[in-house]
């Protein structure tokens, strides 16, 4: 009989750029789940593997340099370790940069976890000519030390074996030696631990010594914890106060600084006895490459070349598969229409479901290509250089240098652009970027501009469209500064960004990343977009007005039977009339009329109001809705849409038309973008994003129309 599998939980901790992701991929293969950490929009990845008679769940903690309560990523990592108590924590360390990486190791040891130290990128370390006495380091850290080459998968089995062994044994040999921070701190710590121990209410999750260290460091979260949980917090906090003063008087620095220096001192000591210096400078090649890539004169041309290539690949190259998908969807609808008898169900299948699936699938090529490109930039290390080059400019918007790529992609399509904000490490920068990306005018808004600008500003259409794009950028700048100073004011983090050594990306790593994003899009957003498309179809098709339709169809049949030229012309007219009446009386049409009082101060007709609502499906739909509602014909008749719109009877002045374009620029882009915002930033930010953009669009439209009227432009 097969023995039941025992479950183990292993958490992966590590610095950004330490190759943690490649270790995670090598351990779990494709069996991964991507979600978010509770309450924050930091990505949480988990995977499963079986080893011997263990079923091992691997949890990828956010990449961090430290375990403070200052950033959401660090809080998520440490609260998982403290509250969920994984059986083993593997710390993935960049072996080429031990001193800085072990700083996190020391903090993990403070937490009292069962730790395996994984010296990753071991090949780089050996190439540099350095040597390491692993046994000695193992004794000093009180934890097993394993070496791996993550991108080749070497040593990963040994790593898993070491973790399992540690979980099985929990042997005395691996009981950690407490780290010394110098006599001043150590004495105080011992005293503090005693006081904490004496208080009821704090036993359980948190190791006392760690709590003591955090209290001395002034960690808000732990101070609050003590206040809430300890029966009597007063003596503890008083002692912390006194101890801090004592440390300050003795060393001239506050405890947080002294403890940090103590950690570095401990690491320096450990490395002194276990490691010989590297002979080759591992950054030498990187420095040479950077002499070109971040060169004062060459830096920007090279950067813009890469970005141009990325943009072209995503949207130009991506337009071919998009066309195929479009054609496939069209063929599918046509086939379905031919096979299915005409009924409400067939309408639902053809226009609602097939159309909805099509609107999901059509973004997939963009997303896959963009993320292939972004992965190349990230994995090679160039993304950090791009941020280095662009930070000066992006900082003016209250953003991070890395926000540039998502913002630029926003000119193509907001959906992949919003997904690309994942490259930003801090939640604040990510959400601010997500809020601003839709202000970059996406390509789907272009048909609206072409129609309106072409209709009302014939010879100046080009300049007007350019002006619209510029307005988007300027508004993003203003809103960015406004939000940075208000909503996101408290969370300012320094621009301390690592410039990692250049590395050749691996095909496996790139494909994994691309696959992951594609899957995430289809699974998490596809459903939302599909359902929303069906609902919007429903609102557009209902109520049915069957009687009216039958009446028209009878008339059309009669005229068709006559077959004269006049009769056929009349058929065309009737069909347009029917479409317009149905659109007008549908739920969406009624909603459009309902909001008329809201949009009439902006100088828009009710038809424009309806088209703004249907534009929620996708911006191109604004044009087709206007076409239907204004009874526009095709070809070169007197009734083409531009001619109808220009006619005074349409009720649209050039000024209102301009305001309308600005409105289309600024208001919520489309259902897919909204789904992307919800996925990346959560429902609250999604609602905020819809609200602020709608308000912004309305006020901008209002201001343009009213000020224009006052100036006599109306």
């Amino acid at each position: 009989m097969k023995e039941a599998l025992k479950t183990l939980r292993i958490a992966l901790a590590g610095n950004p750029n330490s190759g943690k992701t490649s270790i995670f991929n090598a351990m779990t293969g494709a069996r991964q789940k991507v979600g978010n950490w509770p309450g924050v929009t930091v990505e949480k990845k988990t995977g499963v593997l079986t080893y011997g008679n263990y079923r091992i769940q691997v949890i990828d903690l956010p990449g961090t340099y430290s375990l403070t309560s200052y950033s959401v990523e660090e809080r998520a990592a440490r609260s998982f370790i403290v509250e969920e108590r994984p059986d083993v924590v593997i710390h993935v360390v960049d072996a080429g940069n031990l001193a800085r990486n072990l700083y996190l190791t020391v903090q993990l040891l403070e937490l009292g976890v069962d730790l395996v130290v994984d010296l990753n990128m071991w090949d780089d370390f050996e190439d540099s000519g350095a040597t390491l006495d692993r046994d000695k380091l193992c004794t000093l850290l009180g934890s097993p030390v394993v070496s791996t080459i993550g991108h080749r998968g070497e040593g990963v089995d040994e790593l898993i074996a070491a973790a399992v062994r540690l979980a099985e044994e929990r042997c005395e040999r691996h009981r950690h030696v407490p780290i010394s921070y110098g006599s001043h701190v150590d004495d105080v710590l011992a005293e503090l631990v005693d006081v904490i121990e004496a208080q009821a209410g704090l036993e359980g999750d948190y190791p006392f010594r760690w709590v003591a260290i955090k209290l001395l460091e002034g960690d808000d979260e732990i101070v609050d914890l003590v206040r809430i949980r300890a029966e009597n917090a007063q003596p503890i906090l008083e002692l912390v106060e006194r101890a801090s003063r004592h440390i300050y008087n003795a060393t001239g620095a506050d405890p947080e600084k002294v403890i940090s220096e103590g950690r570095y001192g401990y690491i320096e000591g450990a490395l002194k006895v276990s490691m010989t210096k590297q002979k080759a400078d591992r950054m030498a090649l990187t420095r040479q490459i950077d002499n070109v890539f971040t060169n004062r004169f060459l830096g920007y041309p090279i950067f813009f070349l890469f970005v141009w290539l990325l943009f072209q690949a995503t949207f130009k190259l991506g337009s071919y598969p998009m066309e195929w998908i479009d054609r496939a969807v069209g063929w599918l609808s046509a086939t379905a229409a031919a096979v299915l008898p005409e009924s409400l169900v067939s309408d639902l299948i053809i226009d609602g479901i097939i159309g909805g699936v099509g609107s999901v699938a059509v973004f997939l090529p963009n997303i896959l290509i963009l993320f292939l490109g972004v992965s190349i930039l990230e994995d090679s290390g160039y993304m950090a250089r791009a941020a280095f080059l662009m930070d000066r400019i992006m900082h003016a918007l209250g953003l991070h240098g890395k926000s540039f790529i998502p913002m630029l992609m926003g000119f193509g399509c907001s959906v992949p652009a919003i997904m690309a904000t994942r490259t930003l490490e801090s939640e604040r920068d990510r959400i601010l970027t997500i809020l601003l990306v839709p202000l970059m005018s996406c390509s789907a808004r272009m048909p609206v501009y072409i129609l309106i600008a072409g209709t009302f500003f014939a010879e100046r259409a080009g300049s007007i469209v350019f002006l619209i794009y510029t307005i988007g950028i300027v508004v993003a700048l203003l809103i960015g500064r406004l939000f940075a100073k208000t909503i996101f004011r408290s969370a300012h983090a320094p621009f301390v960004m690592e410039l990692p050594p250049y590395r050749a990306p691996t095909v496996k790593g790139l494909l994994t990343h691309m696959w992951e994003r594609g899957r995430l899009y289809v699974q998490k957003m596809g459903g939302v977009i599909l359902v929303a498309s069906i609902i919007l179809w429903f609102l557009g098709a209902f109520p049915q007005q069957a009687e009216l339709t039958t009446r028209y169809n009878d008339e059309v049949d009669r005229l068709n039977a006559i077959g004269s030229v006049e009769a056929l012309d009349r058929v065309d007219e009737l069909e347009m009339e029917l479409a317009a009446i149905r659109a007008e009386n549908s739920y969406i049409g009624r909603a459009g009329k309902l909001i008329e009082p809201v949009i009439s101060p902006l100088g828009y007709s009710w038809q424009m109001g309806v088209s703004l609502i249907t534009g929620f499906v996708a911006k191109e739909v604004v044009v087709s809705t206007l076409g239907v509602l204004y009874h526009a014909g095709e070809g070169d008749t007197d009734t083409t849409l531009p001619k109808v719109l220009r006619d005074p009877s349409s009720g649209i002045s050039p000024l209102a038309a301009f305001g309308f374009m600005v409105f289309v620029l600024l208001y919520t882009p489309c259902i897919a973008a909204v789904a992307a915002v919800r996925r990346e930033a959560g429902t609250r930010w999604m609602l905020f994003s819809i609200a602020y953009q709608s308000a912004l669009a309305w006020f901008a439209g209002f201001a343009i129309y009213r000020v224009g009227c006052l100036l006599g432009l109306g």
Binding site: Y65, S66, T68, Y70, S71, G96, N97, A99, R100, Y103, G252, A253, E256, K257, S260, E261, Y264, R282, M283, T286, R287, D290, T294, N295, R296, F297, G299, Y300, A384, A387, F388, L389, D391, R392, I393, H395, G401, H492, A493, P494, F495, V496, M497, E498, L499, P500
Partner: protein
């Protein structure tokens, strides 16, 4: 307790090497710097300015990191080291590292 010969890291020219004597500031900001290796005694090298003058690339403990100039103002280094040169324009009005940045942009 600041040594009188300490100067802000932001005023060092690319190519300079100096020892950190103190990290001013507080809270998340200072902690982040310390987490990246900016602690007393650490050796830091100024690698290069970004083409627009800001941010600046530094090498600390074998890691290359970037800092904006006004952030690097909070890091004080030993001003007596032999291998260092001060930026021009260091003096009045420099306090936020702004003036230098602007000058370079005009180039």
């Amino acid at each position: 307790m600041r040594p009188t010969n300490a100067v802000p890291l932001a005023v060092l020219m690319p190519g300079s090497i100096a020892r950190v004597v103190d990290v001013a500031g507080s809270g998340a900001f200072r902690r982040r710097l310390m987490d990246m290796g900016f602690v007393q005694g650490a050796s830091v090298q100024v690698i290069r300015d970004a083409p627009l003058g800001n941010p600046v690339e530094y090498c600390i403990g074998g890691t290359h990191v970037t800092l904006r100039k006004h952030e690097a103002m909070h890091i004080l280094v030993d001003g007596t080291s032999g291998r260092m040169a001060l930026r021009r324009g260091f003096g009045k009005g420099f306090r936020h590292g702004r003036r230098l940045g602007r000058k370079r942009t005009q180039r």
